[in-house]
Point group: C2
Chain length 235, copies 2
């Protein structure tokens, strides 16, 4: 009898923003497979999950390289999926992932790879607090109120148009702006939305940073884990 | 010295989907002010928060009528704000709200009303798990993956166009579809997105209901707390 593979959204960074359910499951799992962006850098997901792990937990870090090489990424997901299937022979396996597990997360790809290798495996998912909800809580920004459409724009190549359209129809969240922040600031400025925007880096982590005046970032780079919130014009 | 007013996102319904931080603060607050939609019906937010309250907590239910009468709603928010300011004289006050506190929540309006009465009051906000993250976790639907734009469309009058545009650009979440479900199903059908959609009512609550084939709902009504997830076409 195999164990269950748990995809666990562990929230934006503060270990207290893990749900009670996530904490319980992390505390009970036999194995923990944690994603890291680059070998040697350590896993932020694991750092957040750590205070909740039980004494029996064995930790396995797997590298998910940030690369546009699709074949390389696919190969790594398959590798991680095979590891999970092996570990499931010994009991439940937890896969903690930043923010929510169903939104721009490595869990999506891992779950797909596991399913492709074994259609019978038991997968369960625990939802988590997203970085933009944490950023809004921290700054008092409203993500969306009654009647407003909220657009979540991910890191992508076509952002100036996507940003202009998003802030034109309501409120917006721009994910992982990082190195593209100058482009983002220019797009927001041209859309007349700079004054209702705020940038939050590493929301809820000790090194959290809030920038209320985005024009200061015209020539800067932002931290990788940065999100911009753009309030809608009030209805 | 006044207490702090805490806006607390308590998640979609399952008391275990409250964050560790929310549980800690709910357990420590002197007063709890809980929103209910109609007097007599009881507060779902309070029901979820209850297992986490401390023995010292005094509960106050306030009615936020679901009405399009703006003046009536404003009056009720002002009334609730005055109550909170009074209670803050005795210590911290918690205001639990469904899902996340910054997204289509009563907290947004209460915080604004409190600020308008007292600019010095200490407001803090704890983010929560949204209903759509819980619905995605439950059904295995992907909210958005790399490069996809996610549009959150609230209950509003202009949804057929908003829905068509949203599913045309990526993935979508349609909030509180309730009585408008027939219109929603028709719009999704016309946009060719019915097959990648799922409806979840009261996600994570005991009476949760998942409808995978939305065409069954053409002539039906859905529960008030229902959300439709529409996956994007995979990039």
């Amino acid at each position: 009898m195999k164990g269950t593979l748990w995809g666990i959204g562990i929230g934006p960074g503060d270990p207290e923003l893990v749900t009670v359910k996530a904490a319980r499951i992390l505390g009970a799992c036999r194995h923990v497979v944690a994603p890291s962006a680059r070998t040697g850098e350590g896993s932020l997901a694991l750092l957040i999950a750590s205070p909740h792990l039980g004494p029996q937990a064995k930790v396995h870090e797997v590298e998910f390289p940030m690369t546009s090489d699709r074949a390389l990424r696919e190969a790594r997901w398959q590798e991680a999926a095979r590891l999970c299937l092996e570990l499931l022979e010994e009991g439940d396996v937890a896969f903690p992932t930043l923010g929510d597990a169903s939104l721009y997360s490595t869990w999506i790809y891992l779950a797909r790879a596991v399913r492709s290798l074994d259609a019978q495996v038991r997968l369960e998912c625990v939802p988590g607090v997203t970085s933009f909800c944490a950023a809004a809580a921290r700054t008092g920004h409203v993500l969306a109120e009654e009647g407003q459409i909220l657009t979540i724009v991910p890191a992508a190549g076509d952002e100036p148009l996507a940003i202009a359209e998003a802030v034109g129809r309501g409120s917006a969240v721009l994910m992982k702006v990082g190195r593209r922040i100058a482009t983002v600031v220019q797009a927001l400025d041209e859309a007349g939305a700079l004054e209702r925007s705020v940038l939050v880096s590493r929301a809820s982590l000790p090194e959290e940073r809030v920038v209320g005046d985005l024009s200061l970032l015209r020539d800067a780079q932002a931290e990788y884990l940065s999100v911009v919130l753009v309030e809608g014009v009030r209805p």
